[in-house]
């Protein structure tokens, strides 16, 4: 990765790894810009991960009241296994959006819905969306119009999300993820996965199999 192109406020990457040195340099804004393969280059995805969020209830209230300024996918990060898990839901939602197949109001609500293996939208929000008690929050915004830029999203989020920004990487996510809850949501209870107290987030076979099973469930939602 070309370090000279990365400033604290702007980080554009198509790779999965975030160099530790850069991650540490980030302070208030650690909003990542991701170009997902095969999706239109005009639709970059902005992602930020927060821990110890203090105002989840008020953020959720903005969603419920339909405040257009808060059109984000707010995901309870304890339901997210990895980057590939989160980005798979984004890929599915954006692809369905491009093909005019949205089942929910907009691409951002569709991202929350796309995490779900089942067809019930309200249930998908209960399981994967932000709750009043959410402490770890994954925020996703798709640039659906040219006005939505990295700077506009970064500014809006730093103003309204009260929490500490952490890197959106597999190491951090594996510390946040509630594997038992995730397995239950995807009805994968029979899968053997290592106990959550495994030393450092090594991607061993059981975890990998769980992740790949989850990707399959996301891809096949709604297939009859």
């Amino acid at each position: 990765m070309d370090l000279s192109r990365i400033s604290i406020l702007e980080k554009k990457t198509t790779e999965f790894s975030v160099p530790k040195s850069i991650a540490c340099a980030m302070s208030s804004s650690l909003l990542e810009t991701i170009d997902l393969a095969h999706l239109p280059p005009s639709m970059p995805v902005y992602v930020a991960l927060y821990r110890d969020v203090k105002n989840a209830a008020s953020l959720r209230q903005q969603l419920i009241s339909g405040n257009a300024d808060f059109e984000y996918a707010f995901i309870d990060a304890s339901m997210v296994l990895s980057r590939a898990h989160a980005l798979s839901a984004v890929f599915r939602a954006v692809n369905d959006s491009i093909n005019g197949r949205l089942k929910s109001r907009n691409v951002h609500s569709e991202i929350v819905f796309s995490f779900s293996p089942a067809n019930n939208i309200a249930e998908s929000f209960r399981k994967f969306g932000i709750a009043d008690s959410t402490k770890d929050l994954l925020v996703i915004k798709v640039s659906t119009t040219p006005e939505i830029t990295h700077d506009s999203v970064a500014a809006h989020l730093s103003q309204h999300v009260e929490g500490s920004v952490v890197p959106f990487d597999d190491d951090t996510l594996s510390n946040i993820a509630d594997v038992t809850k995730i397995k239950k949501a995807y009805k994968l209870g029979a899968l053997k996965t290592p106990p959550p107290t495994q030393p450092n987030g090594t991607h061993d076979d059981g975890t990998k199999q769980l992740e790949l099973s989850v990707l399959g469930a996301i891809a096949l939602r709604g297939a009859t």
């Binding site: 198509t14 170009d35 393969a37 095969h38 599915r92 197949r101 899968l191 891809a219 096949l220």
Partner: protein, 301 residues
């Protein structure tokens, strides 16, 4: 998007027609083109996830409604099998994404709208197909021990044959795991099995000397690694002895015609199968019946 190249691969359905400047592996490269599907190499999400893209194009000679229904049914069947087998821990490429609805594509010449076919994105499995591995091994054996296959007592040769037998038992074990999960492959050949991680660097026509990373300094062909089953385009769910036995029979016949010099070792595949799950014994018994009469049970079709 018309260019004046000598050969233009079939147009990719959305979203794969976007060409990112920033992602180096784009656009997807065409690998094979069969009657039912086109296979491309590309990646999913980012270059960190190499992927195989299988496209089932529409068939213009079919009635549009029937075409859509058949294409949808078949791509979904394959996707469901892959997803189920990953959950069951069987070695197959993982399902990344699938679009069974297909897209409406606007014809560049006429402006008419038509059905663009369905697609499936799955994990890319790096390695050589078993057909190549066995063929390379046969070549190695021929070069080192000659054509006299009846000479016994050659320690070196015995060791090579034991390695091959172990490999074949692992193939049988992989098929057994598949059947134990309730899935029938439908087209088991040595081209639909990959030995993960191998890279024999087999020369293709027109290429110079290829690198032989799959061989050690002595030219041994690597036979270690995980056996992965691929191409579930004709797969289905069944736990019937008959269907399982036909899977084995197809593999046996394919093996015999592709690898005549190794055919004598096929019993090792069945041995590996026998040991892999409960219920294998009655399937092997059924296989003897299938051998007597051929693949088709009914005399119809």
């Amino acid at each position: 998007m018309h260019t004046t190249h000598e050969y233009t691969p079939p147009p990719l359905p959305p979203p794969f027609h976007h060409h990112h400047q920033t992602t180096p592996a784009n656009p997807p490269t065409l690998l094979t083109q069969g009657a039912e599907a086109h296979l491309y190499k590309t990646h999913y999400l980012s270059a960190a996830h190499p992927a195989a893209l299988k496209i089932r194009p529409s068939k213009p000679y079919r009635h549009p409604i029937l075409d859509r229904r058949l294409t949808r049914q078949r791509i979904l069947q394959e996707a469901r099998c892959l997803a189920k087998l990953v959950r069951e821990g069987v070695s197959v490429p993982a399902l990344y994404a699938v679009d069974w609805e297909g897209q409406t594509v606007t014809d560049a010449d006429t402006g008419a709208e038509r059905y663009g076919g369905a697609w499936l994105l799955m994990e890319w499995v790096e390695g050589d197909v078993v057909r190549v591995v066995v063929r390379e091994w046969e070549g190695y054996m021929l070069r080192h021990f000659g054509d006299d296959r009846d000479v016994d007592g050659h320690v070196e040769r015995k060791r090579e044959e034991d390695r091959m037998k172990d490999f074949l038992r692992r193939i049988g074990g992989a098929v057994g795991k598949l059947h134990a999960a309730g899935v029938i492959h439908g087209d088991l050949t040595t081209s639909n099995l990959i030995l993960r991680g191998t890279n024999l660097g087999v020369k293709k026509e027109g290429e110079g000397d290829a690198v032989d990373e799959g061989r050690d300094g002595l030219g041994h062909v690597g036979l270690e690694g995980e056996v992965v089953l691929i191409d579930f385009g004709l797969a289905g769910q069944s736990v019937q002895d008959e269907d399982r036995a036909v899977d084995l029979y197809v593999l046996e016949r394919a093996f015999g015609s592709t690898h005549p010099r190794t055919e004598g070792f096929f019993a090792e595949v069945l041995e590996g199968y026998r040991a892999s799950y409960r219920g294998s014994v009655s399937v092997l018994k059924r296989l003897e019946e299938v051998r007597m009469r051929g693949r088709k049970k009914s005399m119809l079709g």
